[in-house]
Symmetry: C2
C-alpha cells in the first residue's frame, strides 16, 4: 500500500470513540477519522438524570473525551458537525456534508466502522418542535433541559414511558421538587417485568410520591400559543403539565447503512458476525445501531446499552485495524436506582423467556441483605427464571437495598457461564456481617427454586 | 424397624444445628438429637467483633436458635452441657457425660453426624488460665471479653495474629478507643496474601492507628501476681498490654472421632466423600472438623468458614436421613471489613497457587468503583491470579470501598464455574452511575491480565 490505511468511523457518541481509539492502538500506522454529526462526542446518556439533580457534580465530566483530547491522547482525527449522507461501497467512499460551512465532499476509506447509535422513539404528534418536550438522548438537549428547569421552575411534569430511563427521570425530577406523573402503557413499570417485581417497583414509585398511570397510551398534546405542551391527553385521562419527558425507547439508527445495502435484521438493527463484520467485508458496525446475539436464546436481540456497545466497539475497532477479536454476545444486564431502591434485571424475564419458547420455572423470595442484627440489614426481593428442561438459570430480577445490583452481577456471571440453578445453590459466596447474611439472598433464591425444578 | 431411627449429632455451634434440622426435615419420623458440650448452641463467631463495638445491636441475636427454639421449631432434641467422651462404632453408641449431674451414660445411634468444629490454636505458655487473654471462638468467652472491656477499660491491647479475625478485632478495639498493637509472623497482614495487596492492607491498618509488628513471633508473656498478662515478649521487642487477643487460627477438633478410628487427612481434618460420609458408613461429618475439597486444586484443603460448613451440614443432614445430597467443595471466599475498606480474598493467592504447582500470571490494577463524577466513586485495587496453561482465573483479591466485596462474589462465581480470564473480560456486567463505571474494575483487571497471558 502506498498510503496509510484509512479507517473511518461514523458516529461519535459512545461506541465510535471506543472503536476509533482501539483501531488506532492496534494499527498505529493507520489514519483513523471519527465523523460526528453534532458538536459533541464521547458522552454518556446514563449520567444525565444525575447531572440534572446535581448529584453528578461536574457538567464537563459528562464528556469523557473532547474532540481535542481524543485527538491528542488517542491520535484519532475528529470531525464534528459533519454528517455522512451516503456510503458508496463500490468506490469505498462516503459523501459528507460539513455543517460548519455547508460544503459536500467525499471521504475515502479502506475500512469503515458504523457506530450511528440509536434514535429515541417519538410520538406522531411530536413532529413539530415543542419547547417543553424533551427526550433523554442528545447531550445538547440535556443541557437545554437543565437550563429549562432552572429558568422555568416547572411545578409538575409528565413522563411518558415507565422503562428505566422514565423511572430514573422520575426520581431526578422528584429530587428537584417537581410533581411527577408517569404514564406507562403496561400495568407495571419496567418493560416485560414479572408481576411480583412489577408490583414492588410500583409501590416504590408510589411511596415516593410519583403518580403512576398504568395501561395508558398518549393520544395527543394540548399546546399553548407558544407551542408549549400544557396537557397530555391519554386514553385514561388528561394530565396538566409544565414539562414533558418522552422516554419510550430507542430504535437503531440505520438509515445511511441500509441505503447502502448493509443488511439489517428483523429487529431493525445492523446484522454482524461475532467479529462485528457486516455483510460488506470492509464495513464493521458496533453499538446501538446493531443487533446483538443473545447468549441465552442464541437469537438476535436488541440491547441498546453502553456496556454492550463498548465491547462491540473494541471488537470492531480491533478487527478494522487488522486484528481478529471476537464478541460473542450479551445477556442483557440492566441496573438502576429507583429512589432508595436498587433494581437489577438480568437475562430473560418470565415473559421474555416464554416468548423465546422456554418451558420455565419461576420463584420469588425475600431475604435479608445482611445478617439480622446489623443495622444496615435490608430486604432484597429476588425472582429467578429457570429453564425447566436444562435446569439452567436464565433470568433474575432483584429489587432491594444494600447490594441488590451487585448481586445481579453475580447472577449475570452465572447465566453467562450457562450455570444451572443447582450450580447457583452451590456457590461459595462470602459471609461477613458488614456485607451479607450467612445464606446470601442469591443462595436462598436458588434453594427455593430448586424445589420446583 | 421396630423403633424410630435415631440420628445423633455431636456439636452444636453452626454445622450441628443445620445438619440436625435438615435431617429432621428430610425424615420427620426420625429422632434427631443434638449433643453440645457447652451451654450455648447455634451461634456465630463472625459477629463477635461487631457485638463488642455495639454495632451488632442485640446480644441475643448472636444466638440464631436457643435450645428451646430449635426443639420447638425444628423438632430436634437438644442436650447442652453434655459431652461425648467416645464413639463405640461396633455397638453404634456414644459414651456421654452429662455435666449438669456428672452422670455417664450410653446413647445409641443409627446414624451419627460429627460436627465437632475447630479449636483455636494456642501458644505453649497459654496453658494456665490468664484472666486477660482471650481467643475469639466460644460465645461464653466473647461475653466475658465484652464484660472485661466494660469493667477494666483497658487503654491498650496486643492482638497476636494478623489474619482476618485479628484485623477485625483490631478494628473493633480501635472503635472502643483502645490502642492496638498487632503482632504478626509474616510481613503483611492476612495469611499468604500477595505483596501488593499486603502493602495496601498494611497501610489501611497504619492509617487507622494500628501498630503493626511484622515478622515477629511471640516468645512469652510477662504476668502480674493475679496471672494477668502485662507484657507480650516477642523476638522483635516487648509490648506492654492490658489485654491480649490470640487469633492465630484454628485446628480441626477431631480427638473423639480419631480415637474411634474415623479417618483424618494430612491437614488434620476428617476425610469425607462428597456425601459427607466418613470411612464408617453410618457416620457423617460436616463443618470445621472436616477437610474439604478445593474446587481449584482438586485437593483436600482446610477452609474453616461458616459458609462452607453450612453447605456440608445440609448435605450430611440430608444423607443421614436417607437422602443423597452432594457437596462438591469450595474455593475459599473470605470477606472482611478493615476499618473503612472492604477486603475480598477469593480462590488461591499467588503463593497458594505456586504451592499447588500452577504456573501463574498475576496482575494488579486500580480502578474507580463508579463513574468519575459521582461523589461516592472510590478506588478498588484488584489482583488476579491466572493459570498460564489453561488461561483460567484461579484467584482474586480486592481491596477498596464501595462494592469490593460484592465484586469478589462475581469472581467467586467465575472461578467456581471454571471461567478463563477471557470469559471474565466478556462478562456482561451492569452499568449505572449510582453503582459502577462503564468498565467495572472486574473487567479492567481481566483486560489487563489478558495482555500477560
Amino acid at each position: 500500500m502506498n498510503r496509510k490505511p484509512r479507517i473511518l468511523v461514523i458516529g461519535g457518541l459512545a461506541a465510535g470513540p471506543s472503536a476509533a481509539s482501539k483501531a488506532k492502538r492496534i494499527n498505529k500506522n493507520a489514519d483513523v477519522i471519527l465523523i460526528e454529526r453534532t458538536k459533541y462526542i464521547s458522552y454518556g446518556i446514563c449520567e444525565i438524570p444525575y447531572y440534572l439533580t446535581g448529584e453528578y457534580k461536574d457538567k464537563n465530566n459528562l464528556v469523557v473525551y473532547s474532540p481535542d483530547r481524543l485527538q491528542k491522547e488517542k491520535n484519532v482525527t475528529v470531525r464534528t458537525e459533519t454528517e455522512v449522507e451516503s456510503i458508496d461501497r463500490k468506490n469505498k467512499s462516503l459523501l459528507i456534508k460539513d455543517h460548519k460551512n455547508g460544503i459536500h465532499r467525499k471521504e475515502e476509506y479502506d475500512k469503515l466502522i458504523i457506530t450511528t447509535g440509536s434514535i429515541p422513539r417519538s410520538l406522531p404528534f411530536m413532529e413539530r418542535s415543542m419547547g417543553n418536550v424533551f427526550t433523554i438522548k442528545e447531550l445538547s438537549r440535556a443541557y437545554e433541559l437543565h437550563d429549562y428547569i432552572k429558568q422555568h421552575k416547572p411545578s409538575n411534569a409528565v413522563i411518558i414511558g415507565g422503562g428505566y430511563i422514565g423511572m430514573e427521570m422520575a426520581e431526578a425530577l422528584k429530587h428537584l421538587n417537581i410533581d411527577v406523573t408517569l404514564i406507562h402503557r403496561r400495568s407495571y413499570p419496567l418493560s416485560k417485568i414479572d408481576e411480583n417485581s412489577g408490583k414492588l417497583l410500583l409501590s416504590v414509585l408510589q411511596e415516593n410520591g410519583v403518580h403512576f398511570v398504568p395501561d395508558s397510551n398518549v393520544k395527543s398534546f394540548g399546546t399553548d400559543t407558544n407551542d408549549n405542551v400544557k396537557t397530555v391527553v391519554t386514553d385514561n385521562g388528561v394530565f396538566d403539565t409544565a414539562l414533558v419527558i418522552v422516554a419510550i425507547g430507542v430504535t437503531p439508527n440505520v438509515a445511511v447503512a441500509r441505503d447502502a445495502g448493509i443488511e439489517t435484521g428483523h429487529l431493525g438493527g445492523i446484522k454482524t458476525d461475532e467479529k462485528q463484520h457486516t455483510n460488506d467485508d470492509d464495513i464493521f458496525a458496533a453499538g446501538d445501531c446493531c443487533e446483538v446475539r443473545n447468549l441465552i436464546t442464541r437469537r438476535p436481540s436488541y440491547i441498546p446499552l453502553a456496556t454492550v456497545a463498548s465491547k462491540m466497539a473494541w471488537t470492531a475497532g480491533e478487527n478494522a485495524a487488522g486484528g481478529s477479536a471476537v464478541f460473542k454476545g450479551a445477556i442483557r444486564n440492566i441496573a438502576l436506582r429507583v429512589f432508595n431502591y436498587e433494581v437489577s434485571r438480568v437475562g430473560l424475564t418470565i415473559s421474555e423467556a416464554e416468548e423465546a419458547g422456554f418451558k420455565i420455572v419461576a420463584e420469588t423470595i425475600e431475604a435479608p441483605s445482611r445478617i439480622i442484627g446489623m443495622p444496615e440489614a435490608a430486604r432484597v426481593t429476588v425472582t429467578y427464571v429457570a429453564d425447566k428442561n436444562s435446569g439452567r438459570l436464565i433470568g433474575a430480577t432483584l429489587i432491594g437495598k444494600d447490594g441488590a445490583v451487585h448481586r445481579g452481577n453475580v447472577l449475570a456471571a452465572m447465566i453467562q457461564m450457562g450455570a444451572t440453578v443447582k450450580d447457583v445453590s452451590n456457590l461459595d459466596m462470602m459471609y461477613a456481617p458488614p456485607f451479607s447474611p450467612l445464606w446470601d439472598p442469591v443462595l436462598v433464591a436458588a434453594n427455593q427454586t430448586l424445589k420446583k425444578l
